[in-house]
Symmetry: C2
Subunit: 311 residues, 2 copies
């Protein structure tokens, strides 16, 4: 059996694993990204964590290394100006790993890696056309058409989180207004909660909490809190509207939701699906599945990165 | 040299041609689609128009037939419920042509055919990632990623004209509100003209016209009419905003504008480009070309359809 190495680089932690072609993680390890202000030392540390496994399994049995990273660019193998990473500017990540490990190394961004993981081992198995949407602190996405990730001419396609959901809407970290991620993310839903609580006098458990988190809103919804349900309804409405427009562009078989907010289950899936259907052009109605990810949150990052080398 | 047959089927007229691989139209003919309520008779009529050419050039030198048609579906070769065609329901167009001509026959919709024509012979030559937008009575589009048309899982991808440009905006023929084509098409710009003339007292040549057409607005703009320029500015603003969102999804090298409204030149290109840039996420700014089609309006339909068989 052949193996690949999957490494997911995050602002705080990086996780890595050795994965067989069937998607079984054979070995797993973790590093604190911030402990390595010098990226060469980070590559070195990965090497020392993985080398015993390379010796046991035989380096010839490794197809390559897949790397998922914020602002990772598939075409040139670099991380480019990632705001949340300790490494600034342009980092030639694939080259550094290739030189150290003597293995083919491929970079992409986290959402594209998640899409590939889902396509090889998860909810999108066998699909050629789908959209992966990651609902975390922000909103990321990976678009797959004709069985391939849409990278675009510069490697930066798939920024669904920065499609304008509400014209002249909420201020976004990107400097523009009304981006999807200011509404339908873990941070967006908290903004919605604060807005609704301010403009409305209905009783809510949430009024007793000082600094509301997305988890608080979920817990309140579980208890049937009306305001919490209204918050999820609004969040799903904005997401459903944007998904309906995205469907008009790529007509996917399914849209897969992943990440913290997706774990709210029916509270987010039900309104998103309802508003998506309501807003669809007739030829797409009732055709597009809205599915939860089938990968464990902890495994998905490693699996997605590892799967990069099999495409 | 090998040849292909390109046939563009329209509600009123159908045009067809024999095209060599370099994109030169060697023979051209035209039929009134509405004269053939029975589609088999239409295929027969095409056959009789083209057969002398097939005899001269040798049937073995033909790679196949490409057909562009409204609601044409690439996957199953059918026209499905095209509202503007005399043939109702599902028409197995590719099969009918294949059986009659004994040549490979491929169907797609008009906007995708235009995209393929542009990629092989026009402004998108050598590009792997671009968006074709046809601004006619309605708005059509063809998205190309990784060198392939994005057909989506059902063959119906690329309906940019039905992306919601203005939430709860103008009523669209599709039954929904605010679709791009209610603003940035030949009919949309006339609606804008009537709206602006009604809500505004500024002098305009357009006030002397009973039933304004998009041509009248163009002619007035040529004369420096302020209202006409304002109408184009608004039309370009809505189009530019939608294009900025589409870029966030597929990150194309270029967007190519085609069709009647695109022929207004700088009057539509300048505001569209300005608002597109203003609304782009930073990583895309200054990178995406906005180009006019390089195919003659009369040739484009035939060339695009004919090019289908070379992909």
């Amino acid at each position: 059996m052949q193996f690949s190495i999957g490494i997911d680089i995050g602002g705080t932690n990086s996780v890595m694993g050795i994965v067989d072609k069937l998607g079984k993680i054979q070995f797993e390890a973790k590093l604190k990204t911030q402990d390595y202000p010098n990226v060469e030392n980070f590559v070195e540390a990965c090497y020392h964590l993985l080398i015993p496994q390379l010796d046991i399994l035989g380096i010839n049995n490794f197809k390559g290394i897949g790397l998922g990273a914020p602002n990772g660019n598939y075409y040139n193998g670099s991380i480019e100006f990632a705001p949340n990473l300790i490494w600034k500017g342009v980092i030639p990540l694939a080259k550094l790993f290739r030189d150290k490990f003597k293995l083919e190394s491929i970079v992409t961004n986290d959402a594209n890696a998640a899409a590939i993981g889902e396509m090889m081992y998860g909810a999108a198995k066998g699909m050629n056309d789908f959209i992966m949407v990651t609902l975390g602190t922000g909103v990321g996405s990976g678009f797959v058409a004709n069985g391939n990730i849409i990278y675009g001419h510069d490697g930066f396609a798939g920024e669904l989180g920065h499609v304008i959901a509400v014209r002249d809407g909420r201020m976004c970290g990107c400097g523009r207004k009304g981006c999807l991620e200011t509404y339908s993310s873990a941070t967006g839903i908290v903004r919605t909660a604060n807005e609704i609580l301010e403009t409305n006098n209905t009783y809510s458990i949430l009024r007793t909490i000082d600094t509301i988190t997305s988890k608080d809103i979920y817990d309140a919804a579980l208890k049937g809190d009306k305001i919490a349900l209204e918050i999820f309804d609004f969040t799903g409405k904005i997401l459903g509207q944007v998904l309906a427009d995205a469907i008009a562009i790529t007509s996917p078989e399914a849209i897969i939701l992943f990440g913290g907010l997706a774990q709210a289950g029916k509270f987010i899936f039900d309104p998103t699906h309802q508003y998506m259907e309501e807003n669809l052009l007739k030829i797409y109605k009732g055709k597009v599945k809205l599915l939860p990810s089938e990968l464990k949150e902890t495994d998905a990052a490693i699996l997605g990165a590892a799967a990069l080398v099999w495409l």
